[in-house]
Symmetry: C14
Subunit: 92 residues, 14 copies
């Protein structure tokens, strides 16, 4: 049971680090985009619609990198193929 | 009982680090967005409604990355699948 | 009693690091937001009400990431599920 | 079974780190591009179409580096050739 | 007595690091807010009252993150639940 | 089989790190170039064609450094000469 | 006597690091606030009284984080509860 | 076969790190050069030819440092003199 | 005599690090304050008296954090309570 | 054969690191010089000849530091005096 | 003689690090102050006397933090109380 | 032969690191000087001769620090006095 | 002879690191001061005498921190009291 | 011969690191000074003589810190007193 426990430990640690480190970049990037959007609206109120639309598309793309990390973290916790395979081998 | 204790230790440490590191980015990003929102309101008071609305949507997206981290930390502490599975195996 | 002591040590260390690291981002972000709020009030004294209101909502959201960290630190010190479970097992 | 477990651990850890570290650059780069796009739209509303089109092509190229990382992480988790080969050797 | 000594050592080290690291962010954030408040007063002396009031509310919120750290450090030194529990167990 | 497993582990780890670290630079560089392109289009809409053309050539050169990293990562995973040679030696 | 010596060493090291690291933030923050105060006085000599008063309140709040660190360092050196308790146990 | 395996591992790791670290500088440098080229074209459209020509020569020189790294990485993977010599010695 | 020597070593190392690290922040903060004071005098020579007075009060507060570090370093070298107590115990 | 293998490993690792780290500085420096050259041409098209000439001389000097690193890396791989001497000793 | 040698080594290492690290902050702070003094003289030649006087007082305060470090380093090398005490004990 | 091999390894590693790290500063410094020279020529074409002459003298001084590093690296590889002396002792 | 050799090694390493790290701050600080002096002379040629005089005094103070480091390095190499004392003891 | 070899290794490593790290600061500082000198000449061509003279004095002072490092590196390689003394002792 030793090696499965080790894999569990590595999976737990990696999942946490993945989403923690992976959240820094998108949060800063989105903060910058939102800040500039507000400045742009203040500068050109008439274009608020276009600006908001472009902002949301951009935020979606930036958020996608955070979601990659979240997906990998979730896979490592709930659908870890190595764990399943070794568990099956250990249980078989 | 040794390996379950090790998984508990790794889970505790990872949960703390995950939310600690994951809080840096969103806090800075939100600080930037809020600061720019205030500057925008001061520049165009008539657009305060649009600015505030856009700000809140943006804050929600930035906060989402912090919430990913919080969710992972909570899963690791209260609903850790590896712990449950090994505990069941140990208790079985 | 060895593994419970190790979990206690990890919990203590993690709780401290979590709130310490998690306080950096919100403090800097709030400092930036407050600084910009003061500049905005100086620029548009007539909008002081709107600016202050938006500032407080923003501070609340930034503070929320610090509170996530504080909650996790408190859980690790006072309501640690791993400690309780292992303690019960050891005491049973 | 020891060496396969070690490879599983290294694969899990590497997959998480790859996407976590690899998400920082693209997120910041996209945040910068989106922010500048909004500023450009506010400055030249008549060119919003050209700006948006150029922005999306640029975002696609920046996103590509994040996708490289995601692809490598997925390969390491779900289609790891070393794991398959050693597993076949162990099972053969 | 070995594990209680180890917990004591970890508690001492964590308490010091917690308040030391946790003091960096609030100090810088408050420095920024105070600096901007002075600039705002110099720019709009008539609004000194509003500015000072907003500054103090902001400083209180930024200081709160430092106080979280101080509270955790004090708990770890003077009201450490793990120490009390293990000490009771050792003394029982 | 020990040394082949070690080489597999090193290859997996190196491939992930290579593309992860190698994606930071190009992503930031491309973000900067795209951002400036948008500013240039907003400043000189009449030169949008020249600017876009120059941008794409520049992006291609920046992307090339990311592709170098991707190529090396792919070689390490799918066409590792050391692995093949040692595997042949082990299998011979 | 071994564990008391270890606690002494950890206390000494932690006390020094606590005040050393904890002095960086307040010193920089105060430097920024003082610098801005001087600029504000030069800009609005008539408001020197208000500026100086606000500066001193702000410095007091920033200094408070340094004092938290100093207090913890002094507690660790001169009123360390763990040392006292273990010393009493050893001497009892 | 132990020392050849170690050399293989070191070569794999070094090749990956070399191109990964070596790609950061050129990517950032080229991003800066391209960005400035676009700004220059927007400022002086009539000199687009001279600017583009100078840009390409500059990019070639910056790219050369990335190519040095790529060459070294390729040599380490496919034409490693130490590996060949030791392999010949081992096979002789 | 082993544990007293270890405490001596830790005290020496900590004292040096404390004052070395603790000198960085105040030196930079004072440099900033002095630089701004000179700029302020050049801008408003008539207020040189007020500026200089405020500067000296500010320098005193910034210097105080350096003095905290110096005091702790001196205590650790010349009035170390742990050393004295253990020495008395060893000599008793 | 052990010590020659160790020297081979150190040489491989050092060669890669040397060119990788040594490429960062020149790439950034050249990027800055090229960027400024383009800005200068846009500002003074009539001096394009002088600017380009000075640029190339400057790039050659900056490139020289990268070439130093490349030379050292090549010497370590292909003309390593320590390897040759020890190899001769081993083969003698 | 072992523990005295260890204390000597720690003292040597700490003394060097103390003055080396402690020289960074003051040197940068003084550089900033001197630079600003020269700019101030160029802006207000008539106030050169006041500026120079304030500069020298400020430099003295900044230098004081470097002198703290130098004093500690000298104490550790030439008047180390731990060394003297242990040496006396060893020689007694 | 063990200690000579160790010295060879240390010499190889140090030579590479020396020139790699030592190339960063000069490359960045020269890049800055060249960039400013081009800006100066664009601003004052009539002084191109004086500017170029001063630039070359400055580049020579900056390059000198890179050459110090190169000289030390070459000495360590080709004229290492420790290697020669120990080799003579070993061969004597 | 073992402990004297260890002290020699520590002294050598510390001397090098002391002057290497201690040279960074003064070099950057002096570079900044000299750069500003040249700007000041260009702005106020009539005050070149005052500026140069103030510059030299300032450079002397900044250089002093580098000289502290040099002095400590020289003491450690040529007049190391610990070495002399232990050597005398060993030779006595 | 073991301890002399260790001293040789430490001397080699320290010499390389000393000049490598010590070259960063002066190179950057000189780059800044030269860059500003060129800007000053472009701004005030009539003062080119004074500027160049001041520049060379300043470069000489900045270079002096690099020379300190070079001197220490040379002493460690060619005139190492510890090596000579131990060698004499070993040869005596």
């Amino acid at each position: 049971m030793d090696s499965t426990a080790l894999i569990a430990m590595v999976s737990i640690f990696t999942a946490g680090i993945t989403i923690a480190v992976g959240a820094i970049g998108p949060a800063l990037g989105e903060g910058r985009a939102v800040a500039q959007a507000l400045a742009a609206i203040a500068q050109q109120p008439d274009e608020a619609g276009t600006i908001t639309r472009t902002l949301f598309v951009g935020l979606a793309m930036i958020e996608s990198t955070a979601i990659y990390c979240f997906v990998v973290a979730m896979i490592l916790i709930f659908a870890n193929p190595f764990w399943n395979q070794l568990g099956a081998a250990a249980g078989g």
